[in-house]
């Protein structure tokens, strides 16, 4: 079995190693060795959509700079199976889906190696992912709400439980998953499951009380990133109250000026300018009186 690496792979390309030899750390910036770094992330969303996210960076001293507009070729297992030709965006990132043409190759094995080449130079050759799936089940045990998450891995073309997978189990929230129980993360047992008793009750959901349960594994060494979601009506039905925004107040826009302020302003303006207009007519009258 191939040795599995951490998913962050570093490739050292010494640029000017001879020039820098023996120099101090404060050497000129272009003489400091820069390291080309390719990070790979595999994603599996709801056991359905899957993709690879590639990040390309240059590390110099302690700063990382994204490398934009780089082209890489991504292969599945061998140079025969081209997944995609990738071009990094301005953040140095690129994303690849596995095309249907590789169906046979994908189904042929339970483990796959992703290979990244820049031209002929092989930059990544040991990013290995084991096929897996993640499922959420909910239950009501003695009045307590329970979330059961199971992670299965492909082993010799059979789904077997995956033990020791660290998961976040909870509710989908802006920017993260709010753990349903008391722990921040959970680890699957020998049956590949975690059982989380929900301690956070009466969280706000949508109008109907629907709330999304999510279980996520982040950058797992074997399986990559896994995410499973499930909608359930465990939340509190929450009406979105826009009264706050729709009220008339001093801080609202000009379309929602408080009535008392409008009344005051307009009555003063109309009163004063009415008088002024009257006075202008008086001047005109004086004028007329002088002409006749």
């Amino acid at each position: 079995m191939k040795k599995l690496h951490h998913n962050i792979l570093k490739l050292l390309v010494t640029l000017c190693c001879f020039a820098t030899a023996g120099q101090t750390a404060n050497a000129q910036s272009d003489s400091v060795p820069a390291t080309k770094i390719i990070r790979m992330h595999y994603y599996n969303v709801n056991n359905s959509m899957q993709y690879i996210l590639l990040e390309s960076q240059l590390k110099k001293e302690k700063t990382f700079t994204p490398q934009a507009n780089k082209t890489y070729n991504l292969y599945l297992d061998s140079a025969a199976n081209l997944v995609a030709m990738l071009k990094t965006d301005k953040d140095g990132k690129a994303k690849a889906f596995i095309p249907p043409t590789l169906k046979a190759a994908w189904e042929g094995s339970s483990q796959h190696t992703f290979i990244v080449k820049e031209g002929d130079e092989e930059l990544v050759s040991d990013y290995v992912i084991t096929k897996s799936k993640i499922d959420i089940d909910t239950a009501n045990e003695d009045g307590a709400r329970v979330i059961n998450v199971s992670v299965m891995k492909m082993d010799n073309n059979e789904w077997k439980p995956a033990a020791g997978v660290e998961l976040k189990v909870g509710f989908e929230r802006l920017g993260g998953i709010l753990s349903a129980g008391d722990e921040e993360t959970y680890t699957t047992d020998s049956t590949g499951t975690v059982k989380v008793t929900v301690t956070k009750d009466s969280l706000p959901g949508n109008e109907k009380g629907i709330i999304t349960i999510a279980a996520r594994a982040d950058d797992n060494e074997t399986f990559g990133n896994l995410l499973a979601e499930k909608n359930i009506s465990w939340g509190l039905p929450t009406e979105i109250n826009t009264h706050f925004f729709d009220q008339r107040a001093l801080w609202t826009t000009r379309f929602r000026t408080p009535i008392w302020l409008l009344a005051m302003a307009y009555s003063i303006v109309i009163g004063v300018w009415g008088t002024l207009i009257y006075l202008i007519f008086q001047v005109i009258k004086i004028r007329k009186l002088g002409r006749t």
Partner: protein
């Protein structure tokens, strides 16, 4: 006014006619124009590079433009005081002063609106105020009320001017042709018949009543630009009255100064008498006392409590870097004028002139002290900013523009005095006739 009673209307008309600039007048105008041009050049630089040419930065985000604005608004209030209040109270001796007061008001309020445009980061978006104006903002109130006040002041200047315009148009003095045409255009329709006089008198009365609340508004609203914020030194319920009393004082000071200059230049000793100075002197004392009273309120009460937020601000004013200026403004702007003017001798024209200038100069710095030191004492500490953000001293561009605007206002007054009779001719004649018959 004993000495006026012996004068004939022809004599009065002749005396009060505007005169051409003498040598001094020309030098005066040249200097003012020069300062204005320098100011205009500085503004050109500011338009080109942005407000970066000023020394305002993120903490001191309002500088002498705004204090100059407040100064102009303050001084413009005098128009309502002298003209309206005195007219309504039938104070007859004020007749020769009304027009001086009104033209000061008009020119000051004109430059107040100009200087506020100068302060804008995006002057070309001025029309946004009308396209997207939001009545919740005190700035909108200020825009409305300044426009109104400018308009009323012009009317109040114009309607009493009608009879004089007629006289001017009929005089066959040598003046340039266009000037004659100008007078005729403005006032040839005035026949002085009873019907016209009735309407005009009524209009003037209405204006006098109207201008008082508007004048109070204009300065109260200006004070609210500050008082509606939370900042120590501005967060005060006293601010409206404090500003208005200050405004009356500086306005009166300005009138006294202008009186003296006009009297000297046009030799109007018969019309602007020592008695006028004496009476104005008493008024200045009264107003200075009033302003002093509000100052005590404004500083003593917070100083008694010394809330944490106020402490730094007040320390800086009383004993810190602003102390010389602060005590200068208090002494020169209020205390010394009071001491001088309570004496009979102090109310002679020359000492009055000098105290008038002191009051005005003191008031200008007082406005600066109201605006800037507060901004240097925010609630949260000033950190993570370049060093120059923590101090403020106006750049030469700011000085040039501020001085340019002051010269501009003086220039308007000067030209007005050159073109129009600064003391109402017709009214003086009428008043004298009334005296003669009584």
């Amino acid at each position: 006014m004993e000495n006026i009673t012996t004068l004939t209307s022809e004599q009065i008309t002749k005396d009060l006619m505007p005169q051409q600039f003498g040598r001094n007048g020309k030098i005066w105008v040249a200097i003012l124009v020069l300062i204005c041009l320098i100011g205009a050049y500085a503004y050109y630089l500011q338009l080109k590079d942005g407000l970066i040419v000023t020394n305002m930065r993120d903490y001191v985000s309002w500088g002498i433009y705004i204090s100059n604005f407040v100064f102009f608004v303050a001084i413009s209030l005098v128009g309502s005081l002298i003209t309206a209040v005195f007219r309504l109270a039938n104070v007859e001796w004020s007749t020769p002063l009304t027009r001086i007061a009104e033209i000061i008001a008009v020119s000051a309020i004109t430059f107040a609106s100009l200087i506020i445009i100068v302060d804008m980061g995006r002057p070309e978006r001025l029309l946004n105020l009308f396209a997207y104006g939001r009545i919740q903002s005190p700035i909108m109130w200020d825009v409305i009320v300044i426009t109104t006040y400018l308009f009323i002041s012009i009317l109040l200047l114009y309607i009493p001017l009608l009879p004089d315009l007629k006289i001017m148009g009929e005089q066959d003095t040598k003046g340039p042709k266009w000037l004659k045409k100008f007078y005729r255009f403005l006032g040839s329709f005035w026949k002085g018949n009873p019907a016209q006089e009735k309407i005009s008198n009524k209009s003037i009365t209405i204006l006098c009543i109207l201008i008082i609340p508007v004048a109070f508004c204009i300065h109260t609203v200006t004070s609210w630009l500050f008082a509606t914020t939370y900042r120590p030194g501005w967060d005060s319920t006293n601010f409206g009255a404090y500003f208005i009393s200050g405004a009356f004082l500086v306005g009166a000071g300005a009138v006294v100064t202008a009186m003296f200059v006009v009297r000297k230049m046009y030799s109007l000793e018969k019309y602007i008498t020592e008695e006028h100075f004496d009476k104005m002197g008493k008024i200045v004392v009264l107003l200075a006392l009033l302003y002093l009273y509000f100052n005590v309120n404004e500083y003593l009460v917070p100083a008694f409590k010394m809330k944490k937020a106020e402490e730094g601000h007040l320390d800086e004013l009383f004993t810190g870097q602003f102390a010389p200026l602060f005590w200068f403004a208090i002494l020169v702007g209020m205390v010394i004028p009071i001491l001088v003017l309570v004496t009979k001798k102090g109310r002679k024209p020359l000492p009055m002139f000098i105290t008038g200038i002191m009051v005005v100069v003191g008031a200008w710095f007082k406005r600066y002290l109201i605006v800037t030191p507060t901004l240097l004492h925010p609630f949260l500490p000033m950190t993570n900013v370049p060093e120059n953000f923590k101090h403020y001293f106006p750049s030469w561009e700011e000085w040039a523009i501020a001085l340019g605007s002051l010269s501009g206002a003086l220039l308007i007054i000067t030209f007005f005095v050159r073109i129009f009779p600064i003391i109402p001719i017709q009214e003086t004649i009428t008043q004298q006739n009334e005296k003669a018959t009584s």
